[in-house]
Symmetry: C2
Subunit: 477 residues, 2 copies
């Protein structure tokens, strides 16, 4: 775009705005947007876009506590830092909730290569171990490779064809799905369950094409699950270009071998903490509204989008309310959950304690889909709870649409708040623009610099506005 033409062009746009054919027209059938709510939400966004702290908190978290996987000292640094920051906001109460978490370490060696191919000789492959992978012997495991594209395809193979081999899952994420989380959801079973099935069938290792849509060779980690009674095998993710090079070779040289060398290790569970900051409600203190993300990350990268962003946005909700002098009717809790990435133990513990202490969690909101510009939110909960509250939620959405949150979807709000669902909690999940998320997800490239300040702030504003609405109107039972 160019020059001064724009002065008038965009002025006219601002005045001529029609959210045509929808929100307000539909909403009026039920309820006019409350002018006080419209104004208060405006004040929330004014504040967050001009005086927020979330970006600088994220800077610190990423640069002083990167790779904060469960069981690491970096995680404990993140606990201390976020506790201090929440303390500085003047919360009613800031505390750490203890929980035992898995402790797996990547170690210092992760290497893979095509070895002694008759066509291309020995060639390195870009690789990272998957969480809960077993180590290999010291010089690695070398074996022929059997390429498959689904769990079913592997299950259908005779055990004899798999035994002693390295299974290679190579089904790409579908690039034609606009929401990249849907593409992830359709592909991630390979990483989550593939190594377990390979192990059961006698494979000596498993490699999985990275879960990303970007055409580079950065490998993306993540958890895999070996059931009770299944001895873990070495399991790793290959970069996309490495996966394609291996697949191309196997077409021409089906008995080509690869070597995989990992010295990761599983330790005993370790004491960890979720971090909680609370502003106590003035009218209905026993009704609790949670807003949160998870403080742990994978052990590569800085966990900027996953899920540093969600943590600092949730902290920012309390910060905005304090800055605005807002006195909530209900109790608002910012919860930074421990161990989402490989166990959900923090969330399970939080839900257990809530039940034990007979706490009434009316709503819980999660931000764990990256720090990009918000496009909407999901709603989840027991079916009747959702239907009785949907008219209110649509009225809130009609106000939030001005700030980017157009989409309301039903379905999973997030792994952490999901643990509260059986208690009758109404759940929300922030849904940002998804195009870039899997470029960084679980990879060394999930860095602070990839998060945009204003996009992060808009997400925080959306969370704060949702908390405000729930605080004002409560949740219908």
């Amino acid at each position: 775009m160019s020059m001064m033409q724009k002065t008038n062009q965009y002025r006219s746009l601002a005045l001529g705005l029609i959210l045509a054919g929808f929100p307000f027209h539909v909403a009026t059938a039920q309820q006019e947007p409350n002018e006080a709510d419209v104004a208060y939400v405006r004040s929330i966004f004014d504040k967050v876009l001009s005086q927020s702290s979330c970006y600088q908190w994220l800077d610190h978290l990423c640069h002083h506590a990167p790779k904060r996987v469960s069981g690491s000292s970096a995680y404990m640094s993140a606990v201390e830092y976020t506790t201090q920051m929440l303390d500085s906001l003047g919360c009613t109460r800031v505390y750490k909730q203890p929980v035992m978490v898995p402790h797996w370490e990547r170690g210092t060696v992760e290497r893979a290569s095509i070895v002694n191919s008759t066509l291309i000789g020995t060639q390195p492959l870009s690789v990272v171990a998957l969480g809960f992978s077993a180590p290999t012997p010291v010089l690695g495991v070398t074996a022929e490779v059997i390429e498959v594209h689904s769990l079913d395809e592997l299950e259908a193979l005779p055990d004899a064809k798999v035994k002693g081999k390295i299974v290679f899952f190579n089904r790409p994420m579908d690039p034609t799905l606009v929401n990249t989380f849907h593409a992830y959801g359709q592909a991630v079973d390979q990483r989550g369950y593939g190594p377990k099935i390979a192990a059961k069938k006698g494979a000596v290792g498993c490699v999985v094409r990275s879960m990303t849509l970007l055409r580079d060779d950065v490998p993306h980690s993540g958890g895999t699950r070996f059931d009770e009674g299944v001895a873990p095998i070495p399991a790793a993710a290959l970069g996309i270009l490495s996966a394609e090079r291996l697949s191309d070779l196997l077409k021409k040289e089906p008995n080509a071998k690869i070597n995989l060398e990992l010295n990761c290790r599983q330790y005993a569970d370790k004491l960890s903490y979720s971090v909680i900051g609370e502003i106590r409600g003035s009218e209905f203190p026993d009704e609790i509204i949670v807003v949160g993300g998870h403080l742990d990350t994978w052990d590569i990268g800085e966990g900027a989008h996953d899920d540093g962003a969600g943590c600092v946005q949730s902290m920012e909700v309390l910060h905005i309310f304090k800055r605005l002098g807002y006195k909530p009717k209900r109790t608002i809790r910012c919860v930074l959950f421990a161990n989402e990435e490989n166990g959900i133990r923090g969330a399970i513990k939080y839900a257990e304690e809530a039940l034990k202490n007979k706490e009434n969690h009316i709503a819980a909101i999660e931000s764990d889909a990256g720090g990009h510009a918000p496009k909407g939110f999901t709603v989840d909960g027991l079916p009747e709870l959702m239907s009785v509250n949907m008219p209110d939620i649509m009225n809130w959405r009609n106000i939030l649409a001005q700030y980017g949150a157009f989409i309301v979807e039903t379905g999973g709000a997030g792994a952490d708040v999901g643990e509260l669902k059986p208690q009758g909690t109404l759940l929300f999940g922030l849904r940002p623009e998804s195009q870039r998320y899997f470029d960084f997800h679980h990879a060394s490239t999930d860095l602070f610099e990839t998060v945009h300040k204003r996009e992060l702030e808009l997400g925080a504003g959306t969370l704060a506005a949702l908390v405000y609405f729930i605080d004002q109107y409560g949740v219908k039972k």
Copy 2:
């Protein structure tokens, strides 16, 4: 986000999608979305997200023809390259439309500094000349600075207070406006008209705070306008941090001086070209649908977002249709306009030729707001034309909402297609997410690497779908 929980979580999301309260509910009052249209738009997006060429075209354009300002040899390279690419698509006709364009050159020297301040001595300021700026004398111009925040504030000053000084416009873009184009629209009058008013009042130079929301010191250029009879003065943009440093100093030392040194130069107008590729319609060849962007850029950076993105997206529309074997009923023209940045001469010429040749342009779509993920589009045109077509447009939007284009605004579609408005053409402007656009706009940082492949492709798909709808249904008069 973590591990295998997501498989089911996001599957349920995909199935449970409700675009709650709107598109389809509203649309049904008028018309069910046509199933064939839904399917065809799906095929457009499938193609663009898996087999497009726009990203590699942009790569070439940015790296082989950066700084393609009007009158430059880089611009002529861009003309040759895009002509070749359009030729390779099998268009009915590819041609260059000649047009005389302004020819201003930045030169080799642009420097500014605070000089001999009693408080901070001599300090450099980050600066770029504005398009159509006059040069300074060889050693620059040194003068006291008068800081103002609006055109009105400057107009109200007695000429004697301005004479011999350098006027400094320092009103920031408003960070609280969610749509950054609105913030730009409210601030850019300082750059567009400030230097002219300063010149009229006898100033010896003018510096303007860069039009950006990013807190760095990269200066952002852009055009300024000196009316007939007003002798141009040296005019430049300061980086944000430089502007703030200068402003801070002036508070303490109001008679501090700065030096500004520019050797830019205005040349005689030069022959240039817009590039046009056309697929002739099979049923109504005389009804023309334009989709386009502008091929020129400012002379710093690569013009990736402004407006390489719009050019390659427009080319991609023809590419997708060719790949899909689509035979348009109406004539579709991809127009890469010359000289949007400092004259709009290409668009003016195009509209003149259309009128002279009695061409019937039923619709024109512009992409000139960056290559980020599409959020919607604007609609512009003569008032009756807009109202009679709005029901159809809303039906189209209801289908496009699935791909991100939720917003329909009325108002300016773009500077280039705007020239067709008096001819009764219905105008559309693509509106992507705007948070990052002014980080790069008119700056050395507008680089290929800041464009995301899938976001660019989604924009191209949205343009193609709009062209498809208009081609299928025509425009009501």
